[in-house]
Symmetry: C2
Subunit: 208 residues, 2 copies
DNA sequence: CCGCATCCTCATGGATACTG
DNA sequence: CAGTATCCATGAGGATGCGG
């Protein structure tokens, strides 16, 4: 897939799994590791060259791994740990699809194994809540604010309300901090971030 | 997008939002409703004809609505309620993208407004748990079982373990039940489902 | 058979120019 | 500003070939 050239998690995800058939291949491998022929069977409509291409792409990008299983040279495809984490976005899309599914199968093909993903996805829909504060974010443009409420986090332009603290840093670092890929302690030690106001609130956010 | 011809929630979702640029357009509209020019600016790299095409597609499929805002004929694009529910799968993909983001922006373009989605998505990652039982599913092929544990639901081939109850029905109905689009009471009144064993367990699943 | 690679045709995407 | 029209490049899909 041609790159979007955008420093955005969604765009970069789609560069890996956004190509036609890719997520459906992942779906099959979430159900179970499979051989080439199993995938052809579980993906009615796919062309053989496309399946081969996509498996190569997904292997290169670290989503799929090709294994030689058992005796002889029996090739089997499976998800890497990172690839298996696509279960969550896929379940989420399955939940979103409900209005598209209730009209029934029409002439579409159907494999009961697909329910292995769909039913848990539809049942598993409850989330948790959190405390409440507002932090200012300065990442090189107009000031933003990060608010935590019971129903989740929200980022938007600073609306003038009192800030419990402020954080000044770069886009890559704030994402790494939010993802836990970078600790607040390390970021400060390396001078990657400046903190103002109530530092304990910032720790609540980025060092839970 | 050409149809996949599969009665699978993921496949049907992708027929609506799987085309190149579609989810990025939704991303922009999740940040805020926008005019055509705003979208061009927020989607660096998109061609004008593609944006026009995609907006039409998304409008037809009920994801986007075109509004005439304020005075004069100022066209504005916004998400429908269903379209706005794409926030969850998008946030999920953003979380998945973390390994792709920590290397930094390289030469990619960047808009701070994108953080409006990314930061809450990365912070909001905790889920809830549930009781524990096993139900058999007969939906027209080999028997399946649905297990609930503390960490979530799981569907797989029946492994011979004791079932608390069994449910016999069609694919479309089990999905509608799991999604809450059909109540257990209605399904039974209409003869769409047969229940065996401990009926109260089935109610726990499909009528919570 | 299985696991692909090649070839061919046609639909789609991308860049740019253009118009109401 | 808000899109269309045009033209070319790329990619999808189907058929088929071919070595192990």
């Amino acid at each position: 897939m041609r790159s979007y050239g955008q420093y955005c998690g969604l765009a970069r995800s789609l560069e890996v799994v956004g190509d036609r058939w890719n997520l459906l291949i992942v779906r099959q491998l979430l159900i179970a590791p499979a051989r080439y022929r199993d995938l052809i069977d579980g993906l009615p409509g796919i062309a053989t060259n496309l399946l081969a291409d996509r498996l190569r792409d997904l292997e290169v990008s670290g989503v799929v791994e090709r294994r030689l299983t058992g005796e002889g040279s029996v090739v089997e495809y499976a998800l890497t740990p990172w690839g298996a984490e696509l279960r969550l976005p896929i379940e989420s899309l399955i939940r979103w699809s409900t209005p598209l599914m209730v009209r029934g199968p029409d002439d579409d093909s159907f494999r009961p194994e697909w329910l292995t993903l769909a039913v848990p996805a539809l049942l598993d829909t409850r989330f948790e809540a959190r405390p409440s504060w507002t932090v200012g974010l300065e990442i090189g443009g107009p000031p933003f604010q990060l608010r935590a409420t019971r129903s989740g986090f929200k980022v938007g332009p600073h609306d003038g309300r009192d800030l419990d603290a402020t954080v000044r840093t770069d886009p890559a670092y704030i994402l790494a901090l939010a993802a836990g890929a970078l600790t607040l302690r390390d970021a400060r030690a390396l001078g990657l971030v400046e903190i103002g106001g109530d530092e304990s609130v910032v720790r609540t956010v980025f060092a839970p």
